[in-house]
């Protein structure tokens, strides 16, 4: 894996080298390296406690690891954090909406946080909501939306500044089957349009055979490749259970 770094860097995408992180004595991530190419939907599959959330916190610079490299769309997160963060869209696991504000106010707040010019903001918000079929809800309070719509709105928000890399941390937690399906499909479409997507989950049914699959277990990458090739003839859920339950 590590030798492939230059191609990835030139084209953008996401690449991580030798990333380790410890909470005191407990190792959360152990020399993790991974690459996600632009236009690729990469599912990061791991049981609870595998280190997924720690990885997301490091990728979003909520935490900084003592060693290892993270490159987002070619920008080194350590050396040029602002440029790297400007190319990154994130949907966090926990909801991060102001429920008392309208959809539009929430999005405008985010646009300003990312330094988007004020004149462009309304047009971008409309476009982002249109893409997700939520334009007519723009002036409702976030509190009035159901869980699926709140998530869609967070996705719209994460795309507002045209990021090159999109991170989603267990984005379907707490959603019903229809909402899960719709958001999973939509993000696959985004990847087909050229976005680099890293999608963390512990649910195997969200992963397609053509997706890039990374399996994280106990802080290490257990498998890295195309889902169909990794699982062979075994259903992914069985394969995943057999790999991750042995040591657990």
């Amino acid at each position: 894996m590590p030798e492939a770094i230059s191609a990835q860097e030139a084209t953008g995408g996401l690449s991580v080298r030798d990333l380790s992180f410890r909470y005191g004595a407990k190792t959360a991530l152990d020399a993790v390296s991974l690459d996600v190419a632009p236009g690729c939907f990469c599912a990061l599959l791991g049981p609870n406690g595998a280190g997924k959330s720690t990885l997301i916190a490091l990728l979003t610079r909520l935490l900084v690891a003592p060693g290892g490299d993270i490159r987002i769309a070619g920008h080194d997160l350590r050396a040029a954090p602002r440029r790297a963060l400007a190319d990154l869209g994130v949907v966090f696991q926990q909801p991060t909406l102001d429920l008392n504000l309208t959809v539009r106010q929430n999005l405008a707040y985010f646009a300003a946080l990312h330094g988007l010019p004020r004149a462009e903001t309304p047009g971008r918000i409309d476009a982002a909501l249109d893409r997700l079929g939520m334009r007519e809800r723009a002036d409702e309070k976030a509190r009035a939306l159901n869980g699926g719509h709140r998530r869609r709105m967070e996705l719209a928000r994460a795309l507002l500044h045209d990021p090159k890399v999109l991170l989603l941390d267990e984005p379907t937690v707490g959603l019903d089957a229809a909402a899960r399906q719709s958001i999973t499909d939509h993000v696959h479409d985004l990847a087909d349009q050229g976005l680099c997507v890293l999608w963390t989950t512990h649910l195997t049914d969200e992963v397609r055979d053509t997706d890039h699959l990374l399996v994280l277990h106990q802080g290490r990458i257990l498998a890295d490749g195309t889902t169909g090739e990794i699982r062979g003839d075994t259903p992914l859920s069985d394969w995943f259970l057999s790999k991750t339950s042995v040591q657990a």
């Binding site: 646009a111 300003a112 946080l113 990312h114």
Partner: protein, 263 residues
């Protein structure tokens, strides 16, 4: 990257919108100093004799004496309230949204501080207006002159709130910490009694009061209300603000791992 002011406007604006949605908070913040002013002070006016001390030029009532202290109290409680909402934001996740902005963290935190200070000042002026209705007035120009003092005091106490929020890991720990901050800060200050009265009972307590930055915020506000500048208080407040601000920025440094507990 441009947009530094845009991001500031958005953060301050969000604070205002949140504030508008929390009318109970506004009322509570007003009732507290008014109870002190109209009940506590009324009861104490007989018990406490005040001599003429600067900036006052005549004998004053006790109610008049404690108005600046109560202004600072509004700032103090708001600073803590904002600290509480920062801890809440962190648990709820909207802090992540703020901190993954590509703007420098110190700037994001400063804007947040500015927003909560602006709201505090709004509350102080409302309090002063109600006090005036009850006949407790200051020189008219004093109401204007006090503004920079309120800004500085608000920033100092807001920065203290930021520092606390960066060290408090969980919402549940908040109440305990607050008791160890709000009450000592308020009672070991010149808000309720002039320091010379304190000397009579204990020189040690007086010294502690004189070191308490809150005392200096109170005195800065008191002197400005009477169109005078207490330079020592001014310096003390500026210095405290800078030190607390630096600790807050350090506390929120990602390498230190604010989110370490459960990232």
């Amino acid at each position: 990257m441009s947009g530094f002011w845009g991001v500031c406007r958005a953060i301050v604006g969000r604070e205002f919108l949140r504030f508008i949605h929390q009318r109970e908070r506004f009322l509570a913040a007003l009732v507290r100093p008014l109870v002190w002013l109209l009940v506590f002070a009324a009861g104490f006016r007989a018990a406490l004799g005040l001599s003429i001390i600067p900036p006052y030029q005549t004998y004053i009532t006790y109610e008049t004496y404690i108005v600046p202290g109560l202004c600072a109290m509004v700032l103090l409680f708001n600073g803590m309230q904002s600290s509480l909402s920062l801890v809440y934001d962190r648990e709820m996740g909207s802090m992540r949204l703020l901190l993954t902005s590509p703007f420098p963290r110190w700037w994001l935190l400063f804007c947040r501080l500015l927003g909560s200070t602006a709201i505090s000042i709004l509350q102080v002026y409302t309090f002063l207006a109600i006090a005036a209705l009850f006949g407790i007035t200051m020189p008219p120009l004093g109401y204007v002159a006090v503004l920079p003092g309120l800004v500085l005091g608000g920033l100092m106490l807001g920065a203290l709130g930021l520092v606390l929020s960066s060290f408090i890991r969980q919402l549940e720990n908040f109440a305990g910490v607050m008791n160890f901050v709000i009450f000592p800060m308020f009672f070991l200050s010149s808000a309720l009694y002039p320091l010379w009265r304190m000397t009579e009972s204990s020189p040690l307590l007086r010294d502690i009061c004189a070191l308490n930055p809150f005392t200096h915020a109170v005195e800065l506000i008191r002197f400005l209300l009477y169109l005078q500048i207490n330079w020592i208080a001014l310096l003390w407040v500026i210095l405290s603000t800078l030190i607390l601000g630096a600790i807050a920025v350090w506390g929120y440094d990602p390498a230190r791992g604010l989110m370490k507990r459960k990232a």
